[in-house]
């Protein structure tokens, strides 16, 4: 009956969940390293502030990249459906399309669009 199967599944998953939590928790139950051991390594230097720094999300360049390469993906979806039937001609045509778009990638790369800072 489905009910017994469901009951077995629930039991096993709850048991695994509890075991998993205990396993993850083991490092926190031992004594943590002392404060001097946990200090950030700066070759002997001291930090002035918390090291959690905020990063730019850079909405505008990320949106441009998304639009460009998402539209490339959109063209690849219908191609993927008919590609096997169409054969080598479809592969070559998609290859040419990707090559043209990769010029855009190279341009973005050289302009520093992919650098985090």
């Amino acid at each position: 009956m489905e009910l017994t199967e469901l009951a077995t599944l629930m039991t096993v998953s709850i048991a695994t969940f509890i075991a998993g939590l205990l396993l993850i928790g083991t490092p926190f139950s031992k004594t943590k390293p002392s404060w001097p051991q946990r200090a950030p390594f700066l070759g002997g230097g001291v930090p002035d502030t918390h090291a959690w720094s905020r990063f730019h999300v850079r909405y505008y360049p990320m949106t441009l990249l998304l639009i460009a390469f998402e539209m490339e993906m959109m063209f690849m979806y219908p191609w993927a459906v008919v590609y096997v039937a169409e054969g080598i001609k479809a592969l070559v045509e998609m290859g040419m399309f990707l090559a043209i778009l990769s010029v855009g990638i190279v341009y973005g790369w050289r302009e520093g669009a992919f650098k985090w800072q």
Partner: protein, 424 residues
């Protein structure tokens, strides 16, 4: 039983050691890298043994204590020509000869793993650096994102930021004297905007560097040019080996170090040059950065100034060098790649001059000034420290580029001791 067998097996592995380098100890520590029983690690967290080599200035004792505590326990410290602090004196391992180090380190490592030796205690007090206790006199706590130091932070406002004008969280810290990537004894207070250095303030200059004895002897009497030039080639190859190590090309770095010990006049480094081109060293981070201005190059002197186009070399005025056909090498450029090329070219030139000088047994004739690998040196006048140049040179560079720039420059003053002097 299986655990002791396992511990014995583990004890045969290369010992992970973190070096804390003091004055005049840089060469000895670099040479220890050739020993396969030791593995130099890049962070104290990976190390089991801390090597404190050379005399540590008293102002760095607090920094040394914090580095010592950052080694995960159980750990031990080996003091090579250095004095342990009072808390550790009883069980401290103090040695005098760098050659003994690998035996001693292997022995200490084995005793730590087998439990014979207890780890060393922490030297710093076990207190949180900045306890959060709500609103306090020192600006702790506060309200949310605008809360005080160190946990709160100001809102993002438009301000000067080297990246794009939106100032987010400048990160400031002081990078200390015990990081082997930097010259020993060099510490600076750095402000970063992301990965870009915004400000550098040098808080302590590197220890003066000890040159081979032959350069000082050249100021007293004529010395064989072969010996002088061989020492020069070794010095530049050592700098190159350090730059390779920083870039992660560790096996190349060790190969260059081995080459240094077996170097003879007349050796060719064309093979080394093509290997470096192959592994892409000349295109590594910072190769095109670190551009020196004219006055900065003049202040630094030596090969860096010659690479930047200032064609000054004391050897030009020496008739014995002119007999050997000496030509000043200069003008590669002002960036890091130019300085690396300058080292390679000067080393190659030094080796060919040494070969010719040895055949004809030629000695130097100018006892007033000598061209050392660090710069021109006279009797009362040796190259001075030029570390303040970094305060103008580094802002605007990314971290990796800045490290490469520091490694490509030789900024320390020249010490009165010679490299071979065992007194350190």
């Amino acid at each position: 039983m299986a655990v002791t067998w396992l511990a014995r097996l583990a004890a045969k592995a290369p010992v992970p050691v973190y070096p804390a380098i003091g004055s005049h100890a840089q060469h000895a520590v670099q040479d220890l890298a050739l020993d396969p029983r030791i593995q130099w690690v890049r962070s104290p967290r990976h190390a089991r043994i801390l090597l404190v080599a050379g005399r540590i200035s008293p102002e760095f004792s607090a920094a040394l204590r914090s580095v010592h505590d950052q080694l995960p326990g159980p750990s031990a410290t080996v003091w090579l020509r250095s004095t342990p602090p009072a808390e550790l004196v009883n069980e401290a391992v103090v040695i005098d000869d760098p050659q003994q180090f690998s035996d001693v380190a292997a022995d200490v490592y084995r005793s730590l793993l087998q439990g014979e030796r207890k780890g060393e205690p922490d030297l710093c007090p076990d207190e949180p650096p900045a306890p959060w206790e709500g609103l306090g006199d020192h600006g702790q706590g506060g309200k949310g994102m605008m809360g005080g130091k160190p946990y709160g932070r100001a809102m993002a406002m438009t301000a000067d930021d080297l990246r794009d004008g939106l100032q987010l969280d400048p990160l400031s810290f002081s990078i200390g004297p015990f990081w082997p990537v930097l010259p020993p004894g060099f510490s600076a207070h750095v402000t970063l905007h992301g990965d870009v250095i915004a400000e550098v303030e040098v808080t302590s200059v590197p220890y003066p560097v000890a040159l081979p004895a032959v350069f000082r002897q050249a100021l007293e009497k004529p010395v064989p040019i072969a010996e002088l030039e061989l020492a020069r080639a070794r010095y530049h190859l050592r700098q190159l080996s350090h730059a390779l190590w920083i870039n992660g090309l560790e096996s190349s770095s060790l190969a260059v170090l081995q080459r240094i010990h077996a170097l003879q006049p007349g050796d060719s480094i064309a093979g080394l040059r093509s290997w470096l081109r192959l592994v892409g060293f000349f295109f590594s981070a910072g190769a095109e950065k670190g551009v020196l201005g004219r006055d900065q190059a003049e202040k630094i002197g030596g090969p860096a100034a010659r690479a930047a186009g200032i064609a000054l070399d004391t050897r030009q005025g020496d008739p014995q060098y002119q007999r050997l056909g000496f030509q000043v090498i200069y003008g590669h450029g002002s960036n890091c790649r130019a300085r690396w090329q300058q080292w390679l070219d000067e080393a190659e030139q030094a080796l060919s001059l040494a070969a010719r000088a040895r055949e004809q047994a030629i000695r130097t004739s100018d006892c007033d000034r000598v061209e050392t690998p660090r710069g021109a040196m006279g009797r009362g006048d040796s190259p001075t420290d030029a570390t303040s140049v970094l305060q103008e040179l580094l802002p605007g560079l990314e971290w990796s580029e800045a490290i490469a720039t520091i490694a490509s420059l030789d900024l320390a003053a020249v010490s009165d001791y010679a490299q071979e002097d065992a007194r350190w």
